[in-house]
């Protein structure tokens, strides 16, 4: 996608890929192409949603962005500097601008440390002594995320899930970052708590001018939080655009299928939902051409031979990787379905069938 705006992107990702080798004994069984060539930008103060079903490479992408995983190919540029293979020392000044919030609030806090120590850890390891002292800064941070600053000396096991996630957010904010990668920050939380935490993140974004890469499988949360949305399928971005475009005028068949799976009592009529057949193909051996073609009802011969590029349509800013993009709102009746298997067809529903928090709490 070409950058049309004048302002420089804060994060520029090109051709990012992560391949995991699979070995049994000494024999190599090939590569899992968890992420296979991503291009996207994040501008300062903007939040980009990464959505897709489990196993599509969202989390791997997030971990590569904060360099917890080493990318196999491609480049990550942050604030104009290439950090793709930067070492720990070279990363140090950038670490302060680039932080991560984790999915599981029960695993992301060290059970042996007090909340004060946990939030102070980024300051400590970077040798930062803020004016007024570490303790005062930590208490400011706790207050900022809606926790009682008096809880400084408490341990994580004394907090609820939502409070723990707030501690994780305070820790990510300790270094005053410019970009936060939020890896499913609310998926492990109760629905009522989800809203609180998402609203907290939104307030923080507005007040502190943070940019977010917001990884989620809950489309409703992403719609609430993100300015732009990237839809991933099997390690690739299939569609990238502004929130309104993605949600109201999706062009890629997969995006349409995803959106149609959101349970909505007002629009879901009979046949209003696109049911995808079959499973997601294995990333060990992804289909040739378009990766979605094995489940796509519009697939033609060209889809198997030629990989569609992620290109903007109609001169707009919405990019779609499809040979036969759709148009129009998603609420229109689904196009001719490729197959309606009698034996209980699989539906693709990263969004929700039984409530947004019910699925894949564990990674």
């Amino acid at each position: 996608m070409t950058e049309t705006r004048a302002d420089e992107p804060l994060l520029r990702v090109r051709g990012l890929a992560k391949h995991f080798p699979v070995r049994t004994g000494f024999r190599s069984r090939g590569l899992v192409r968890a992420v296979d060539g991503l291009d996207f930008d994040v501008r300062p103060g903007e939040s980009l949603g990464l959505v897709g079903e489990s196993g599509c490479g969202k989390t791997t992408t997030g971990r590569m962005l904060v360099r917890l995983l080493e990318p196999t190919a491609g480049t990550i540029e942050f604030a104009g500097r290439d950090i793709t293979h930067a070492g720990r020392r070279a990363l140090r000044p950038l670490r302060q601008d680039l932080q991560i919030i984790f999915q599981d609030p029960y695993a992301s806090l060290n059970p042996r440390h007090t909340v004060g120590r946990i939030v102070a850890m980024p300051l400590q390891v970077n040798g930062i002594d803020p004016p007024g002292g570490v303790k005062q800064r930590v208490q400011e941070l706790l207050e900022l995320v809606g926790l009682n600053p008096e809880h400084y000396n408490r341990y994580p096991h004394e907090f609820s899930g939502g409070q723990r996630q707030r501690v994780g957010i305070a820790r990510a904010l300790a270094l005053r970052p410019k970009l936060i990668v939020a890896d499913e920050p609310v998926s492990a939380l109760d629905v009522s708590i989800q809203a609180q935490v998402v609203n907290l993140l939104r307030d923080l974004q507005r007040d502190l001018g943070l940019a977010f890469v917001f990884i989620a499988h809950d489309l409703a949360v992403v719609r609430h939080f993100c300015h732009r949305v990237a839809v991933m399928y099997l390690g690739r971005i299939v569609e990238l655009g502004d929130r309104a475009d993605i949600y109201e005028r999706p062009q890629h068949p997969y995006t349409r299928a995803l959106l149609s799976a959101i349970p909505d009592v007002t629009t879901l009529g009979p046949g209003g939902r696109i049911r995808l057949t079959g499973d997601v193909p294995t990333p060990l051996d992804p289909p040739s051409g378009c990766r979605f073609r094995t489940r796509c009802w519009k697939a033609r011969d060209v889809c198997a031979t030629e990989e569609p590029a992620l290109v903007p349509r109609d001169g707009g800013r919405q990019a779609t990787a499809c040979h036969f993009p759709e148009s129009g709102p998603v609420t229109a009746p689904a196009p001719a379905q490729r197959a309606v298997a009698a034996d209980g067809d699989e539906t693709v529903d990263p969004a929700a069938t039984a409530g947004p928090d019910a699925q894949e709490v564990a990674r």
Partner: protein, 333 residues
């Protein structure tokens, strides 16, 4: 003789839950404080802990006890033995002067020799346990955290060490070393013998701790709080000592408290077969070895050291189990 005291230990869980109920007010109780509170509520732990404390105090206060008792460990009381070298009186010569009686043959006081033997045994066991724990922690954390070829090398060395026959090497090494440093005629000082014993235990004993720690570190390494520290730019030292180690103290402590009694019995066993200490240094193993000659004629001689070593090891094992329960309340009993 087992040198892997922790092999059978169910690994203590990493975090102890807050089932004890946090106090009201704004001072949190750490998992360690909660475990301490649980330990104090456990009657077995209190009793066995008090016994251990008693043994340790006795071992530390040996010079004082000797002064108060008024008899040295090498003093002989031949005048209290009969013509066959058997102690006069009942129960191996128990009197107000000689509390646990006298040794047949040499006529030395059993009580003061046992007190000295306790000190020797506890010193060897603690020294060996501390050294093995230190080696095991360092190798285990480094191997577990770094992985890759470091892990492979450490694992290989561990397997190699486990494959070495402990008893044969101990049997071969001890006299050879004594001969090498002191020759045929010179008397081997007790400190040297103790040092050799500790070194042999350290050489063979670190593997179980290293494996335990490595496993724990591998389980923790992928946890998100470790990744959070890495994302914040923490270095290796911070990762190992601030993030990982505080979370694996519990299993290390348990393995330590179970390793000490294992070394006590190992020392006794080695001294028994004549590898460890000589008769000059009072120790449980030597006493029991000597007492076997008099099993029928003077059963009291085997009784006192036997019961004491049993009580010592039993108290250590009970305490180790109680400690594990306190640190890991979720494990089923």
């Amino acid at each position: 003789m087992s040198l892997s005291p922790v092999e059978g230990v169910a690994l203590a869980e990493i975090e102890s839950g807050g089932d004890a109920g946090a106090e009201k007010g704004f001072v949190g109780r750490s998992p360690g404080q909660l475990a301490w509170a649980r330990l104090r509520r456990d009657r077995t732990a209190v009793v066995s802990g008090a016994m251990l404390l008693f043994f340790v105090v006795v071992a530390l206060a040996v010079p004082l006890i000797e002064m108060a008792y008024g008899i040295g460990p090498r003093e002989q009381f031949q005048n209290r033995l009969d013509g066959f070298g058997m102690p006069l009186g009942y129960a191996g010569g128990v009197t107000g002067e000689h509390w646990f009686g006298l040794e047949p043959g040499l006529g030395r006081d059993i009580f003061i020799r046992m007190v000295h033997g306790l000190r020797t045994s506890l010193f060897i066991a603690f020294a060996a346990a501390v050294i093995t724990a230190a080696i095991g922690i360092v190798l285990g954390t480094v191997a577990g955290y770094l992985g890759g070829w470091v892990d492979a090398v450490v694992n290989w060395v561990t397997d190699l060490t486990l494959a070495m026959p402990f008893l044969i090497i101990a049997l071969a090494l001890t006299p050879t070393l004594a001969l090498r440093f002191y020759g045929q005629r010179e008397a081997v000082p007790p400190a040297f013998q103790i040092g050799v014993l500790v070194a042999i235990f350290a050489l063979f004993g670190w593997t179980s701790t290293a494996r335990l720690v490595r496993g724990q570190v591998i389980a923790l390494r992928e946890r998100e709080f470790v990744e959070a520290a890495r994302a914040a730019g923490a270095g290796l030292g911070h990762m190992l000592f601030r993030q990982l180690l505080p979370n694996i103290w519990a299993p290390i402590l348990v393995s330590f408290s179970l390793a000490v009694p294992a070394y006590i019995t190992s020392e006794a066993a080695l001294s028994f077969i004549g590898v460890g200490l000589t008769d000059e240094t009072p120790s449980f193993g030597r006493m029991i070895y000597r007492s076997l000659d008099y099993l029928q004629t003077d059963p009291a001689y085997v009784f006192f050291p036997g019961v004491t070593i049993f009580a010592l090891v039993f108290a250590f094992n009970l305490f180790g189990d109680a400690l594990r329960d306190a640190l890991d309340p979720k494990s089923s009993r």
